[in-house]
């Protein structure tokens, strides 16, 4: 659990959000569809990636023109970085272009699994915090690493549910719970969500939020799934706050069973 949340609001680095769903901007069929999904999801934070465009084709379109900035806070990420140095470079470029200190730090270690390189992530986190960034690092579902990132000054930790784009959901609810219970900063489950119940499960474990992209962008009806994800995150949060009944291996009737059989 974290100190970050009160009154149902998600609070990261002193900024409050009424939705606990964070959404991506990649892989959509069109910007119009992306925008409709953002609206349907209710998300107030969207990740974007800085990169090199082919300038020989003219100025082209920019994803930024299709994000409702009156409602959505931009969270630039360091996608494509495989070393701390590359991630720091991308973060600085994002800050320069967008004028935001916020950065979703991701440093990957393997192109097949897109698994986080935690050593490089820790090193980059240290540098970026020192430079005044608000750092939200993508990390493994490893408690020790999550605490180390927190010690380095991360504003939140973002452990994976499962591999990026895999749709396998939360594969290890036990380790995720350990992080949620021990973290002082918000815990955002990032990656692996495939369907609404995955997002709900993450929230029922006590996560402060969920970040997803492919589950919405690549499904058959993205706008409908975006709405489902928004509802699932809220339902999961309410379920968590309601304090579930204990699990038992015997039955307990919920209706009175005495005195009728005479």
């Amino acid at each position: 659990m974290t100190m970050g949340s009160s009154d149902g609001l998600l609070e990261i680095a002193g900024k409050r959000f009424s939705s606990r769903l964070l959404i991506g901007t990649g892989s959509y069929a069109s910007f119009a569809e992306m925008q409709a999904c953002h609206r349907a999801s209710g998300a107030e934070i969207a990740t974007v990636a800085v990169g090199r465009h082919d300038l020989s084709q003219g100025p082209g379109d920019s994803v930024l023109k299709h994000i409702d900035r009156s409602r959505i806070t931009l969270l630039p990420n360091t996608a494509g970085a495989y070393t701390a140095a590359e991630a720091v470079r991308l973060a600085r470029l994002s800050r320069e272009a967008l004028g935001t200190e916020w950065v979703k730090l991701e440093v990957l270690g393997n192109p097949t699994t897109l698994w986080p390189d935690v050593a490089e992530t820790l090193a980059a986190c240290r540098t970026l915090v020192r430079e005044g960034f608000i750092v939200l690092p993508y990390t493994t579902d490893d408690l020790v690493v999550a605490k180390r990132l927190e010690d380095e000054g991360a504003a939140a930790v973002m452990p994976l549910g499962s591999m990026i784009g895999s749709g396998l959901g939360v594969l290890n609810p036990v380790t995720l719970s350990l992080i949620i219970q021990a973290a002082r900063v918000p815990v955002i489950v990032d990656a692996g969500v495939g369907q609404a119940s995955d997002a709900a499960l993450a929230m029922e474990l006590g996560a402060d939020g969920v970040l997803l992209n492919s589950a919405v962008a690549l499904c058959q009806d993205p706008v409908s799934m975006a709405q489902a994800m928004g509802l699932a995150v809220r339902a999961g949060r309410l379920s968590f706050l309601s304090g579930r009944i204990a699990k038992k291996t015997y039955a307990t009737p919920s209706s009175p069973g005495a005195g009728l059989q005479g």
């Binding site: 990169g51 465009h53 003219g58 470029l93």
Partner: protein
């Protein structure tokens, strides 16, 4: 003169500034980041930052991305 823009050669008038380069690309009002020889050129310095023959320039923009 010739610079290397996003990895490709590009001809520019002698003494062109970073701001003029962005204008010629149709990106003057856009949220972009510019690196010259691996150093960021801050927004406020773009008009005064003059390009030189052989400069390696990267103009970076935001793309869709997430998970």
């Amino acid at each position: 003169m010739q610079i290397i823009l996003n990895g490709k050669p590009r001809a520019l008038p002698e003494g062109a500034s970073v701001a003029q380069l962005l204008e010629s690309l149709g990106l003057a009002g856009e949220m972009v980041a510019v690196e010259r020889n691996l150093e960021i050129v801050p927004r406020a310095e773009r008009a005064l930052a003059l390009l030189k023959e052989g400069d390696q320039v990267e103009v970076l923009r935001f793309m869709g991305g997430g998970r």
